[in-house]
């Protein structure tokens, strides 16, 4: 592992956060090209381990992968710098959009645009459900977890934070004795 300055870590993650559109896989490819192939800051194995860690910790997996890499390079300072770098451009743009959005709230054209956008987001969410469901839902037990959570929220309006906790505990009971 090379010694890299915090400034350089920040700049690379700023680049990653600024030029990466379009979901998890394109972002991970970008990560690997910048950090492993071009700069050789980490090895391929370290990269794979960071991706795995990002996926099994709470929070957004890509951000977590970045935090893990930052931590490997420069401990807690590296972790902070990768997070800020990755989120910086998006946050600034989101704030600018929010300022514009609150100012032109009553503009009828914006209303029409957002009506179209809102409908597209519903389609987007359903496609995410469709894509996500193919991997972890593979037998009747996992399907039962997904369906019970669905009905508990859609029909019985139970609190989703409570439902997450409950499914974690149920997972522990159901799968806890399984040997891997």
């Amino acid at each position: 592992m090379k010694t890299v300055s915090l400034k350089n870590i920040f700049l690379v993650f700023l680049k990653i956060g600024t030029f990466s559109f379009g979901g998890v896989y394109s972002m991970l490819t970008f990560f690997e090209r910048e950090l492993v192939e071009k700069r050789k800051w980490i090895t391929h194995e370290e990269f794979i381990e960071s991706v795995a860690l990002g996926q099994m910790t709470p929070g957004p997996p890509i951000v977590n992968t970045g935090i893990c890499i930052g931590y490997k390079l420069k401990k807690i300072k590296g972790a902070l710098v990768t997070t800020v770098g990755q989120a910086f451009t998006g946050t600034v743009l989101a704030i600018l959009l929010a300022i514009f959005y609150t100012k032109s709230k009553d503009n009828p054209l914006l209303g029409s645009i957002m009506k179209g956008v809102g409908a597209a987001v519903v389609g987007l969410l359903l496609s995410i459900v469709y894509k996500m469901a193919r991997k972890p839902i593979k037998d009747y037990k996992t399907a039962l977890f997904a369906l019970s959570a669905f009905f508990a929220l859609a029909v019985f309006k139970l609190n989703p934070i409570g439902l997450i906790l409950a499914s974690g505990i149920l997972g522990l009971i159901v799968y806890g004795r399984e040997t891997r």
Partner: protein, 171 residues
Amino acid sequence: MILLKFCWIQIVVNALTIGGGFVMLPMLHQEFVEKYHWLTNQEFLDAIAMGQITPGPLTVMNAFIGYKIYGLIGAVMAMVSTYLPCIVIVTLVAKYYYEYRESVIVYSSFKGIKPAVIGLLAAVAISLGKASLVDPKTFGIAIISFAVIAFTKIDPTFVIVGAGIAGALFF
């Protein structure tokens, strides 16, 4: 008080959900829209769209929501409370990676949470659909958006921008 509550919700949601920005939406929707009425359904959908069209993680949508609720300070605090739990948890896990990976508690509880969050996301997508799909045109946009993102490799950003243009032309 609103700001504190807002940050606390972000911290709890980020510390509990496994599987990415989208699976946090049911929790955020419940707290921000249903419980505290800080946002309408339409504003919540708009926030998701903003998170999607901006580069970087979807979670920057929280800055948009933070600004809407509490101005610039709200936006900055939203980012701090979104990423703080991640930094704490990931650095701890990175230190004890092998113990964590082999832990039965982590493995088996995540095995329950992973399918459950998909069910929750489906439920919230339907509830948002009820609010925003009000006529054949909006239904059409949602179906096209679903099909394009689910079955092609086209970036969702283009779909959202396209739907905005369609909205400007047809509504």
